[in-house]
């Protein structure tokens, strides 16, 4: 492997993103921008009820409406296998996915899709929806995770029995599964503690809030090839989903990913591709289906609401002796909450010798949750960090000092049975301790405005998985790069930079492009903070193959042995071949010019399955100002510290830290799904589902640490997800510092703050 020990030339610089210009001027093609000749427009009929049996569906009147080309229901899909597969990094059961595409005998949430219509215009499709007759038998919904766990709760799936490693339960339940981690002897540990804190927490369901809705356009060729254009994080994942749900061969399905207007995990699973494909088949026309904003809220994949309990004990000297955690996560209508990931992340930063954690995956009458940027971790970290903070306070210790006394170290056994390797928890906390923000004076205040400061330590495990990059050398010495990863964060540039660095060429020499499932090699979804890391590994591998093959071409030109050819990819002579036999040199471009004559096309291929990767610790410092008359929380100052391994493109890394922090701020203070008693979502729009605006978020300061992951050629660790994990915790701890009342609920809205203070 060619490694660079000297200073990098391309890595670590700040070039503009390759995709920036066309996005800024509005020329980039996103999902809803796809237009095909003869295209029809699709709309989806959705359940107005949160829980009901479907007695009858009759599309006759809709089919008769002038301008309607086709109506589709569950009857148009083959039976799906009751089989679960890893798709997009989560698990998907295809029977449930089919049911979530078009409802079978029950609807399980407000917005559950039932049927779809394709028509000449969007307006006709809308009118046709009203002409599909559906008869429902209403059932009681269950909307709260703890109520869903109760013995007498209405059941969503009558045949669901809790699965766990203790066996399968006898009676049906809304608890789909449960698991336990156990380390040491918690009872003993609590007995050794001088101080014990126990708190319960609740967090509301939240949405990723991507501005671009789900959108797919499906078209069938005369030879039976189905092409689906879609906004997605994983073209190959969508291909698998379409293949399973339609029962159609993988080789006859092409998925073309468009540019993505935000995803954050919510676009690993498809929602509109299969309806579009069925409508296209039935109507004989391409069909485009675009979700409205309301549909995105009601019927895509938000993140779990939770109920959590955390109990921790520590000695007077500030050593944690025991922890006990209960995590109850809403899965929505079908099993599959991120409670496992939440369990992996809570308290990951601490050395706790005795601990038990019980996790529960619970179905409720809400949309089936999807992945949202470090899925599950933000919720559990909010709970864990609040109790850590309270323990520190009761022990009279500085919050950062207390964390440092218990900080996780390399080799430390973890609650989930693994152990930490090459982690930077200590370095991150020390960076917080030494940061100017943490040391800046802050007047707490005694009047209407009270100020406080809080910190939160965050962890996300990241991911590796499969990626594919092809590099082709062109006759002019430039290199075309095709990657199978969808670019959702600017990775086409950061991966091109890794290729350029390895090749010893400038970034301008590399032209990156996203492929589709027909043109590029199999790649897992872009998510889990894996793309710059794993697809980077693939790019380096492809670049190394290019260099090896170029050696052979140079040897052919010089009529010598390849072993007599050397290549420099660093320093002032970077990009130069030398022949030891005659001391001649040739540039990369000179060899490239002769590719035709030396054997034809020259490509390097990197197909990898990265099976080991580094997690990322991060931390936040938040200064808040609370108006104790209104309960408003204003962020005065906010800092994000994170270990990124190696910042390939620092501007991109800073953007991830700020963007994730902003979403965490929204999660902590503003955002949450609201329901009425019958399970109707009340705020399925951007007015009442409150994403923070630019006026609500201060300029977020960032500090990047580079403690490398040694198994990546450049030391890269995943970056994108850790930033969202810590902010609610840091803000909650800051609010406590300001007003002296612990917040146990997310979002910490003004009403909740006033309630916590006993003012209303």
């Amino acid at each position: 492997m060619i490694t660079k020990t000297a200073e990098h030339t391309v890595i670590g610089t700040r070039p503009p993103r390759a995709d920036a210009f066309e996005k800024v001027v509005g020329k980039a093609v996103f999902g809803p921008d796809v237009n095909l000749p003869r295209m029809a427009y699709g709309r989806i009929l959705r359940s107005p009820h949160a829980h009901a049996r479907i007695v009858r569906i009759d599309p006759t009147r809709a089919e008769a409406l002038d301008g309607v080309y086709a109506v589709a229901t569950a009857a148009d899909l083959p039976e799906a296998a009751d089989r679960t597969e890893r798709v997009g990094e989560g698990n998907v059961n295809y029977k449930y996915m089919r049911d979530n595409t078009f409802a079978g005998d029950k609807v399980l949430y407000h917005g559950h899709p039932i049927a779809a219509v394709a028509a000449r215009t969007l307006q006709i499709a809308e009118q046709a929806l009203e002409l599909i007759d559906v008869e429902y038998e209403l059932l009681d919904p269950v909307l709260d995770v703890r109520q869903a766990m109760a013995a007498d709760a209405p059941l969503l799936h009558e045949g669901m029995h809790t699965r766990s490693l203790a066996g399968t339960a006898d009676t049906p339940s809304n608890v789909a599964s449960q698991f336990q981690f156990l380390q040491g002897d918690p009872e003993q540990g609590f007995a050794q503690a001088d101080v014990v804190v126990e708190r319960a927490f609740e967090t509301a369901m939240v949405h990723q809030g991507y501005i671009e809705p789900h959108a797919a356009t499906a078209a069938w060729d005369a030879d039976g090839t189905l092409t689906v254009y879609t906004t997605t994080q994983g073209a190959f994942d969508i291909r698998s989903q379409v293949h399973e749900l339609l029962g159609y061969p993988l080789s006859k399905i092409i998925v073309v990913p468009t540019e993505v207007g935000g995803a954050f995990g919510g676009k690993n699973v498809g929602y509109v591709e299969v309806p579009a494909a069925v409508l296209a088949r039935k109507s004989g026309r391409p069909v485009r289906v675009v979700m409205t904003r309301e549909e995105v809220f009601l019927a895509s994949g938000p993140s779990s609401g939770t109920w959590m309990r955390v109990k921790m004990g520590a000695t007077r000297e500030g050593r944690i002796t025991a922890a006990e955690v209960e995590l109850c996560y809403e899965a929505g209508a079908y099993p599959g909450s991120p409670v496992g990931a939440g369990a992996n992340c809570i308290l990951a930063g601490y050395d706790i010798p005795n601990a038990r954690l019980d996790g529960y995956d619970v179905v409720v009458n809400k949309p089936r949750v999807g992945a949202y940027r470090a899925p599950g971790a933000t919720q559990s970290t909010f709970a864990g960090e609040a109790v850590i903070d309270e323990l520190a306070e009761k022990l009279g210790l500085d919050p950062v000092e207390f964390r440092l006394r218990n900080i996780a170290t390399n080799g430390m056994p973890r609650l989930n049975g693994g152990f930490h390797e090459h982690i930077a928890a200590r370095e991150v906390m020390e960076a917080v301790r030494d940061h100017p923000h943490y040391n800046a004076p802050l007047e707490r205040g005694t009047g209407i405005l009270r100020r406080g400061r809080g910190v939160g330590l965050a962890y996300w495990g990241n991911w590796g998985a499969r990626s594919s990059v092809t590099l082709e050398v062109n006759a002019d010495g430039t290199v075309s790069m095709l990657m199978g990863s969808v670019d959702i964060t600017g990775t086409r540039t950061s991966i091109a930079m890794q290729a350029a660095e390895t090749l010893g060429l400038s970034l301008a020499h590399i032209n990156p492009a996203m492929g589709n499932t027909q043109t590029s090699g199999y790649s897992d979804a872009s998510g889990g903070s894996r793309t710059t890391m794993a697809t980077g590994v693939a790019a380096v591998k492809a670049a190394e193959e290019v260099i090896a093959k170029m050696h052979e071409r140079a040897a052919a030109i010089w009529v010598c042995e390849p072993e007599q050819v050397a290549y420099t990819n660093i320093g002032p002579d970077a990009g130069t071949f030398t022949c030891s036999r005659n001391d001649e040199t040739m540039t990369f471009a000179e060899v490239a010019a002769k590719l035709g004559g030396t054997g034809g096309a020259l490509r390097g291929q990197g197909d990898v399955n990265v099976r080991r990767w580094g997690g990322a610790f991060g931390a936040n410092i938040a200064d808040v100002e609370v108006d104790i008359e209104t309960g408003s929380v204003r962020l005065l100052r906010f800092t994000a510290v994170q270990n990124v391994g190696k910042a390939i493109r620092p501007g991109q890394v800073e953007g991830q830290l700020r963007g994730g922090a902003t979403q965490g701020i929204g999660w902590g203070l503003y955002e949450g799904y609201a329901y009425d008693g019958q399970g109707h979502m009340l705020n399925a729009n951007f007015l009442d589902y409150k994403l923070p605006t630019a006026l609500d978020v201060p300029a977020i300061e960032t500090e990047i640490l580079e403690i490398p992951w040694p198994e990546h050629p450049f030391g890269v660790r995943g970056v994108g997800e850790t930033p969202i994990v810590g902010p609610p915790a840091a803000i909650a701890n800051a609010v406590y510092d300001a007003i002296g009342v612990r917040q146990g609920f997310l979002p910490m809205t003004p009403a909740r703050i006033l309630e916590s203070m006993g003012i209303i």
Binding site: Q123, E126, Q127, E130, E629, T630, G631, S632, Y670, A674, L682, N683, F686, L687, D688, K690, P692, T693, L695, D696, T749, P750, A751, L754, I759, I760
Partner: protein, 296 residues
Amino acid sequence: MNFSYGYRAPDTIAEAVRLLQEGGSGARPLAGGTDLLVQLRHGIRQADLLVDLKRIPELSAVRYDPADGLTLGAAVPCADVADHPDIRAHYPALVDGAGIIGGSAIRQRATVGGNLCNASPSGDAIPPLIVLGAEAEIAGPNGSCRVPVSSFCVGPGLHLLDQGEMLVALHLPIPSPRSGSCYLRFTPRGEMDIAVVGAAAWLQLDESLSYIEDARIALSAVAPVPLVAETAATWLIGRPADSESFAQAGRLAQETARPIGDVRGTLPQRLHLVGVMTRRALQGALRRAKGETIDG
């Protein structure tokens, strides 16, 4: 749901009135369209014909006269209202309200007249107009007339205009000496938000600037229509202009308010905020009555 509608842009009030009358309930006046177009798209309102009022000179005119007061055309965008030097100098509560409707992009289109005609209980321009004593000039098939803005809204989303009638302009009286006004609202977000509770206050002080000679208070989002807090305002007359008086006014305003609990605010929260926002609006009105101006 009808998605195709006609569009006309008359040049005169008479022509607009004629189109509205002939169009029946399917004809709707269009100014900025920032409420109407969204409602049409979502099927909350229906229309066959949109009558665009923006070409009618009277509706786009802003005129301040120290003898007459302010004449504000119904189709003047909020951004222009909030920037207008005479409105900033003499009717600051109107600037407070017009300057926070929607967001900065929306305010280039949204109008104060439209905010009034949308008749939302939380319309931010309405309580300021009420406390500033504004009158709505209405033109219709039977001629024109004026009504106090405080009577204009009759229910959530409902105003007193008959078919064929339209809002032409708002008339605000000349500001009295030693008076000041203020509008504040509580929202979770800094912008792009809707009032959870809003309070407009207008105070006229005595010559010593220590006592209240006259007062008006109006609240948004706490009743089916923007609410005049009559009792609280009347109580203030003759009282010292200080925090104790304002606190009592806040309590009296709470008794008048009839808020609901909904996804935007709980009932206890809204009641509590009526007190807080009323006090704070009165403080703002007091500062302005004593000479503080928006432009410093």
